[in-house]
């Protein structure tokens, strides 16, 4: 009886030992994997910090301004002048009601084959 129990316990402990041993090795593997990933992340963070710094340099007004000045002639651009600003007050108001009579006359004319735009285009020498 006792002997059987002993054999059983021995087998169990051998199995457990093998299990723990295997677990230890797999954990070691995972840990080294983790270390490698952490190193990789910190390396990439370093690269990212450099890229971010690059991006910040390229975005600086002090960096963009000379480029614009260099290409100002080719692109025909310059600093904005006061006269280029408009205001909402300067926009013409919408007519109180659509001019239906004029629209009807226009559609009637087009239906008859007379296009008022054609006349303007011909007068301008386009076409």
């Amino acid at each position: 009886m006792i002997r059987n129990i002993n054999i059983f316990l021995l087998c169990t402990s051998v199995a457990m030992l093998a299990g723990v041993y295997g677990l230890k090795f797999s954990i070691e593997g995972t840990a080294s994997e983790r270390t490698a990933i952490a190193a990789h992340i910190s390396e990439q963070e370093g690269e990212l910090s450099l890229l971010k710094a690059d991006w910040a340099v390229l975005n600086q007004p002090g960096h963009i301004d000379p480029i614009i000045t260099r290409h100002a002639d080719v692109l025909a651009i310059g600093p904005v002048q006061q006269e280029q600003f408009g205001s909402f007050a300067a926009l013409p108001m919408r007519p109180a009601a659509p001019d239906t009579a004029a629209m009807d006359a226009l559609f009637a004319a087009i239906a008859e084959g007379i296009d008022p735009i054609d006349a303007i285009l011909q007068a301008e020498g386009i076409e």
Partner: protein, 578 residues
Amino acid sequence: MAVIGDRFVPTIALEGTRKQRGNLTQARIRWMILAVVMGLGLVSGRLVQLGMIETDTTIEGQARDVITATRPPIMDRNGLEMAVDIRVPSLFAEPRRIIDVEEAVVALRSVLPDLDETWLRNRLTGDQGFVWVKRELTPAIQDAIMRLGIPGIDFITESKRFYPGMNEAAHILGSTNVDNQGIAGIERHMDSESIALLQELGLARGNALTPVELSVDMRVQHVMHQEVLDAMTRYQAIAAAGVMMDINTGEIIALASVPDFNPNEPASALVKDTFNRITSGIFEPGSIFKTVTLAGSLDAGAVRITDEFDARYGVRFGRYTIGDFHGKNRILTLPEVYKYSSNIGTIRIMQAMGKDNFREFLSRMKFDQRVDFELPEMRVPTVPNTLSEVGAATASFGHGLSVSPLHMLTAYAAFVNGGNYISPTLYKRSIAEAEPLYERVISEETSAYMRYLMRLNAISTGGSGSQMNRAAQGYRVGGKTGTAEKVVDGRYSSNKVTNFFASAFPLDNPRYAMVIMVDEPKAENPQSGTTAGWNAGTMTGRIVQRVAPMLGVAPDFTEMLDQQIVPPEVRRIFPEGY
């Protein structure tokens, strides 16, 4: 068996077999217990030994965390990076693990030839665990040294501060040293606030730090820096500076001073004359100070805006007579005193108020103390504690006292924003946050007068600000010129001057105040002059023309806008307003 059995007397068994066996078992158990106790003792002994070991985690006396500590990125008000951390490799050696010092020295110097040979040899000899060889290298040099394969030489990644704007915001940002600690500017201020504590606790690591948002607008800062730099060549000045502030919140939008330095090379800040002229330079402000005298006297009720002052003759103090530069030699109204920048008129306005009240007003405007501001580079202004008759007279037009341009800026901001003094700041602040900090220094009514006077100076014929207004048409700028003669060998020199232009825009609903300074300018061309209108004035105009659209100020040529800021009383003397 029988023979042997016969020869010996049978053993007298004193104890029974059972007892004998029991004794043997007990002895074995004792041995086992002893073995177990010894084993456990060994284990615990080792534990104690391990516990006693102090692992040296410091790097030349500094904690490893401090070396790799990061600083939060600094952003401008629109989220553009002004300072970022980059990771750079730093080279260190473990002398106790170096086998052949000579070989290592030769190999290292093949990649880093600027290292001193004897210094390096001494550095690598010995049995220390850690010595720096060279900090903050480039990845290319790191690769080259790795390829040498010297034992006992390795790299550690450090955080290094990088300023993508280079010189542009140098005086705002300041600089950091090789250990990533702030040594000047806002960097130093940040350290004294909270970052130092965070780094000490080891929390300031990684990229998790919240960015610090400044009130500065890099676009405006760029324009300001470019213009002050341009003034150095255009007017052959020895220095130039400019600062702009949001008058309602006290936020500094731009601050530039040249000559400056590159914060990426902290050593360049040690060059002479690179100090921040806006905060740590104190100057005699000259005629821009007349605005202060007029505001004080109008606010005290000593003079009214329609009063007239006799500017026909100079004011005599004993042997001295103070006269006007390009004097009109007639009786001037108060707006004319301002417009023609009459010293005589200003002295009379100050005298109407009384010199003690005038001195008290200077204290109210905080001219006799440092401006409450984040930058550590500050100088105490020199304003006499008591003013003599002559002292008060010269002080009324900005001579005999020295204040920083930042003092003038905060004073002008208070004059146009409705009379509330607000300390400037480099951090973002909303109007709601700023309002509890307001200190009333002049009344709403006086503030309205000052806005009118400043605008009058810009658009009226003969006004000293008309040069400025030429470029900035439509942006409703107004301001005051100041040409302060410098003291050379104990007397005021007329060809060495410091020029100022203090302004605010748009004056129908003011939002920004600005002070521009040009030190010792020369005439741009033979047709122009050296007074402030020609240099500081035109610079102000050019800056406003460029930055107003960025700040959301649209040009408006409607005459009504200028007319509506004319105080009704003024209509009695100038019916047309200007």
